[in-house]
């Protein structure tokens, strides 16, 4: 029994030693993967080109309906894709709804409206006639 304990002790010790060797052998930064399709806050703030591009995007305005950008990317001029700009005033009504009411009722805050607008997960049943 004693012999058994000794052998076990030696074995465990040598296993530890082996582990230690392996641990130091492997690269420290192996787990730090840098993505190539996105950048971080730091990049935006340190690169004037990115910063300007980001700021310009702030002026892109509100997305008018929750259906926009289905076919094309959002951008200037997208007020003509589904609802007209006038539809979010009291001049006209976009009869497909598509959650334009969020803006009409002023339920989108300035920040949210510019950074990103709302998209409801439920669809109005009458919107099936569009396009």
């Amino acid at each position: 029994m004693k012999r058994f304990k000794n052998i076990t002790a030696v074995t465990v010790a040598s296993m530890m030693a082996c582990m230690a060797t392996v641990m130091t052998a492997c690269k420290e930064d192996f787990l730090d993967v840098v993505p190539t399709d996105r950048v971080s806050d730091a990049s935006i703030l340190s690169d004037s080109v990115l910063f300007e591009a980001y700021i310009t995007n702030r002026y892109m305005g509100t997305r008018l309906t929750d259906k926009e950008a289905e076919g094309t990317l959002p951008g200037f001029g997208r007020g003509f894709e589904y609802a007209m700009w006038s539809s979010v005033t009291d001049e006209s009504i976009y009869n497909n709804d598509d959650n334009t009411w969020l803006i009409q009722r002023g339920q989108i805050s300035g920040d949210a409206a510019t950074a990103a607008s709302a998209r409801s997960t439920t669809r109005s049943p009458i919107s099936t006639k569009c396009r």
Binding site: F4, F30, S40, R63, P74, L102, A113, A115, T128
Partner: protein, 1010 residues
């Protein structure tokens, strides 16, 4: 008795079982010779041998062979022990093997020899029903995409539930399980409990271990098998014929405009013409299934394997092909696979061993441009009142310019998708000379896959007959805006895994120790390249260089990512005399998915077992139980299969705008940061009992429980839309701006039981039944606050539906007046239950369904038998406590299943069991507008998953042909099914029923060994 020249010594005796009964027909042979005899009815034998120095070998089917030296004795009585194969078996577990007798975890195993009994070329379809704890559903049958979705003990996460596949020790080997050649598989083990903790952060959903065949010492055995299969759908819905559909169209018009009467669309005369076929051009009666689909499709498999070796070098090499044709007439759908495998093991010195495993596979998929879902959608929708093909050869417009007869062919172009997969594993092991039992081993594995897709869409012309002008109007469809278009895509994956391990395996007296520590690291890289071009002047130049010339005619995209992991793994398994069993294992996993400083997770598990039957008092007092083991395990496992880089704010170029006449890319916030993102963790408890009793019976009973926490999910429901961060501009993968948070909690618990019986003798067989009950319970998910108690998902199982209850059909106006009903309801509509009794039918009356399309109950029955040269095997699989919602796309937009058409309520059939027909089922009061449980089917079933009947040609007939064994067999997959589901296969999971149906395969095969 065999007369011999020198018979100097005579020996006799009795061969008995350990109960003392004589064993008749047992064989007694002098070792190393052909001298031998068999016992008589009382188990007695007598044998003359040259001298008294030899050894006798006693063998009897179902018992352990015994060798006894004669030692000049003339009387040798032998007691043979029952062969408890189940206990001597070695089972593959994570990072090693274990004797089944000393196993403390819940592990199910199947041998490759059983898998090849199924004519299904897709391995994932050959496991259902075979053992407890494995829940599999074959969701569709399209060649190339005909695998099963499977879980270990059901679902326990709202996130990813993929089971980790480990092939020959490589976790997550590229190529996976499904497309392995079944002939190359030695065994498949499924780790169901905390014993999977040795795979740490990837083990929470269970682990499947696949071991491929290796060489064995001996002269080469060449084995060839051929299978010819005939596949056809397990079931297709019956569809309404033209006169029925024409009548239905009239009814729909009547419901929409009752004043117009019953013949607004077709006159009775016209309907009669549909019925009698007198004018097939104007009044056809088209069976679109018959027009589009063949009676059966062919499939075949060839496999050639060579197995052999010397003491120092052993090899297993194989070649295989699989061919599967699609069901469409003149169809473009085909799957062709070529694969090879070479496993070579060499002893360089007595202590130093090297092995090299190389395998490669070419998977060639080809499809028409129309997806299978779309083609079957068109088959089920296409109007029976429209001809498939005009007498002059023109194809009709089918339904909305989709003619299913054309969609399945290459007329609209094809999508070809060849994928090459290569796996290489180099292993070495060295027994360290200075301490007995200590060894070091390691492997270096490289996986590569190249997945290429080329889709060329060609415009083609369909025709519409204008009977008034007796002219055909043409419609150009397919392609892109009337011209051919091309997209090409390449996805390359590289997966490199390195492992080094120190093992200690030693038996000292009654102490058995098996321990290891290991370091493993893995890097997976994936890159995607995509290009497309439109406006091809001609369909004869399907190359990216030959399309439209304008800048807007061309597009491209691409992406790539790396995923790294490093792991420290250790295990100590100890047992005392194979009676007291204990095991501790742990894995420290680091993953690049998580932020620096939080990359590592700790996943330990402990298990213990007690073989009561090894106690002397038990052996002496409980004689009918031959083996009894109690065991339990508990551990923590993880799931890191989540989106990368969510721990900081992500900005990407995802939009564009015009500034000063220049299109400028716009960069925007695409993901908010969750700096605290971490593992999904699973704590698994497992308590089991294994027993062998009355020699031939075996039983296993397991209780299991899992508590999953920190499930990653986006906080969608509780954040108001007006916050603007829930789901803004659609991102590429349609994910919300808010990052995943570790917020979900799901429990999963249940039991498994298996009972088996082995019968040896002239008619030898074993039969084994298994049952699994696994129920999940949502403890916390991000549900909208204020959700009604009976609508909440929390507290119930995962993946249920929110539906209105139905109480039948309003047979008459009087019925309609009696119940609260929605606006627009008419006689013939479904009665929706006013669940909250407020006198109105509102969204609050929806109720959460009891079951979802994940079965809580699954069961199976396996039978293997043999009588002289014949053998038979059967696998039944079944499920219960499961439901599937299917609402067909019927109305003016599409045809009806016969079940609805023939049983519909109508003013002239007020006793119909189905509601009245409507313009569009999806926006009907009876259908999608108030989704209800009328369309929720009980998807329970029992089916004969697999049957095989084989005959082995007697050796005597073969010896002249130099064939060592020849077996012919007939087999079938999904031969028959007992279920209450009428229109589709109960294993499907489509809410519309529009999918490529599961296959029934009838197969003939031959297996020859040289």
């Amino acid at each position: 008795m065999y007369g011999q020249a020198q018979t100097a010594f005579s020996v006799k005796g009795t061969v008995t079982s350990d109960k003392g009964e004589g064993l008749p027909g047992a064989s007694v042979i002098l070792k190393g010779t052909s001298t031998g005899t068999t016992t008589d009815v009382d188990g007695k034998y007598s044998l003359n041998v040259p001298d008294g120095a030899g050894t006798l070998v006693f063998t009897y089917i179902g018992y352990v062979n015994q060798e006894i030296a004669i030692g000049n004795r003339s009387q040798l009585d032998v007691k043979l022990l029952v062969n408890d194969k189940t206990l001597d078996e070695i089972v593959v577990v994570g990072y090693g093997t274990q004797k089944k007798a000393t196993l403390t975890g819940s592990v199910s195993e199947i041998k490759g020899a059983d898998i090849v009994k199924s004519p299904q070329p897709n391995v994932s379809n050959s496991l259902a029903g075979r053992f407890s704890g494995f829940v599999a559903n074959n969701r569709g049958g399209e060649p190339g995409y005909d695998g099963s979705s499977y879980t270990v003990r059901g679902f326990a996460s709202t996130g990813n539930s993929d089971v980790l596949i480990v092939v020959d020790g490589i976790p997550g080997q590229v190529g996976g399980l499904e497309r392995l050649d079944p002939n190359d598989i030695e065994s498949i083990s499924i780790l169901k409990d905390a014993s999977a903790a040795v795979y740490g952060s990837r083990a929470a959903n269970g682990v499947i271990l696949v071991t491929t065949k290796r060489g064995s010492t001996g002269k080469p055995v060449i084995s060839y098998s051929f299978n010819q299969g005939f596949s056809s759908p397990t079931r297709l819905p019956g569809l309404a014929d033209a006169p029925t559909y024409a009548t239905i169209m009239n009814e729909i018009d009547y419901y929409n405009n009752p004043a117009g009467g019953m013949n607004q669309h077709y006159s009775a005369d016209e309907i009669e013409k549909f019925r009698n076929g007198s004018d097939p051009l104007r009044y056809p009666n088209t069976d679109w299934q018959k027009e589009t689909l063949k009676k059966f499709a062919l499939q075949n498999q060839h496999n050639l394997g060579i197995n052999g070796g010397t003491d120092n070098v052993k090899y297993y090499v194989s070649l295989g092909t699989i061919y599967q044709d699609g069901l469409y007439k003149n169809g473009a759908t085909k799957y062709k696979q070529y694969n090879f495998r070479s496993n070579i093991d060499a002893n360089i010195t007595k202590d130093f061993k090297v092995s090299l495993g190389l395998s490669g596979r070419q998977e060639n998929r080809q499809f028409p441009v129309s997806s299978a879902g779309n083609t079957f959608r068109s088959i089920y929708r296409a109007y029976p009142t429209v001809i498939a093909r005009y007498p002059n050869g023109f194809y009709s417009t089918g339904v909305e310019n989709s003619n299913p007869v054309v969609l399945g062919t290459d007329m609209g172009g094809t999508s070809s998708n060849p994928t090459s997969i290569f796996n290489g594993i180099l292993r070495a092991s060295y027994n360290l000379p200075f301490i007995e039992g200590l060894s070091v081993d390691g492997f270096y594995s490289v996986d590569k896959s190249f997945n290429f897709t080329k889709t060329f869409s060609i415009p083609y012309t369909l025709y519409n007959y204008d009977s008034a002008k007796d002219a055909y109007n043409s419609v150009v469809t397919g392609g892109s805006a009337g011209k051919a278009s091309l997209t090409q895509k390449q996805v390359n994956i590289t997966n490199i895994t390195q492992n080094i391990r120190l093992n200690y395996l030693r038996q000292i007296g009654k102490h058995n120790v098996n321990a290891f520590v290991a370091y493993e690291q893995n890097k997976r890289s994936e890159s995607t390249f995509d290009a497309s071009r439109i406006n091809y002047p001609t369909a004869s130049t399907p190359e990216l260089s030959q399309g439209g010339a304008a800048a807007t005619d061309k597009n491209n995209s691409g992406s790539s990512y790396n995923f790294t992991r490093k792991s420290f793994i250790g295990r100590v398994a100890y047992n005392f005399n194979e009676k007291y069993l204990a095991e501790v294992q742990a894995r420290v996993d680091g993953s690049s998915v998580f932020p620096k400083g939080k990359q590592f997770g700790f996943f330990p598990s402990v298990s213990a077992g007690y073989r009561i039957s090894e106690e002397d008092w038990f052996k002496n007092s409980v004689r009918f139980i031959d083996d009894l083991k109690l065991r339990a395990s508990y551990g923590t496992l993880g799931n890191d299969n989540v989106g990368q880089f969510q721990f900081y704010n992500n900005y990407s170029f995802n939009n564009q705008y015009v500034l000063g006449g220049v299109i400028t890319p716009g960069i925007d916030l695409t993901k908010l940061a969750n700096p605290n993102i971490t593992w999904e963790t699973s704590k698994k408890l497992d308590i089991g009992l294994n027993a062998v009793f009355l020699k031939n019976f075996n039983i296993e009973v397991i209780y299991f429980q899992q508590k999953r926490s920190d499930i990653l999910a986006a906080r969608n429901a509780s954040i108001p839309n007006t916050s603007g961060i829930v789901n803004p501009f659609k991102t590429n993968d349609n994910t919300p701006l808010v990052p995943d948070e570790n917020l979900g909690k799901v429990n999963n618990s249940g039991f498994e039981a298996t009972l088996g019986y082995n019968h040896s003798g002239k008619f030898r067989y074993n039969i084994s039944g298994n049952v699994t009950y696994a129920k999940s319970k949502i403890i916390f998910i991000d549900e909208a606050p204020g959700a009604l108690e009976y609508q909440r998902q929390t507290g119930g199982p995962l993946y249920t539906n929110l539906l209105y209850n139905t109480l039948g059909i309003y047979r008459t106006q009087a019925d309609l007046d009696k119940f609260p009903h929605v606006q627009g309801a008419q006689p013939g509509d479904l009665i929706l239950e006013d669940y909250n009794k407020d006198g109105k039918i509102t969204a609050d009356d929806q109720v959460r369904s009891k079951y979802g399309n994940v079965p809580l109950l699954t069961y199976g029955l396996v039978f293997n038998g043999g009588y002289s040269a014949f053998d038979i095997s059967l696998v039944f699989a079944g499920q219960g406590m499961v439901s599937q919602y299917v609402l067909p796309e019927s109305g003016q937009v599409g045809n009806f299943y016969s079940s609805w058409a023939d049983n519909r309520w109508s003013p002239s059939n007020t006793d119909g069991s189905y509601p009245r027909v409507d313009t569009r089922a999806s926006s009907s009061i009876n259908g999608g507008l108030y989704a209800n449980n009328f369309w929720l089917n009980n998807a329970s079933f029992v089916r004969l998953k697999n049957v095989e009947l084989g005959y082995t040609i007697p050796k005597a007939t073969l010896s002249k042909l130099k064939i060592s064994s020849l077996r012919v067999y007939a087999s079938a997959f999904n031969l028959f099914t007992i279920t209450g589901v009428k229109d589709f296969d109960p294993e499907g999971n489509s809410n519309s029923g529009q999918f490529y149906p599961q296959q029934r395969i009838l197969n003939l095969g031959v297996n020859i060994k040289f």
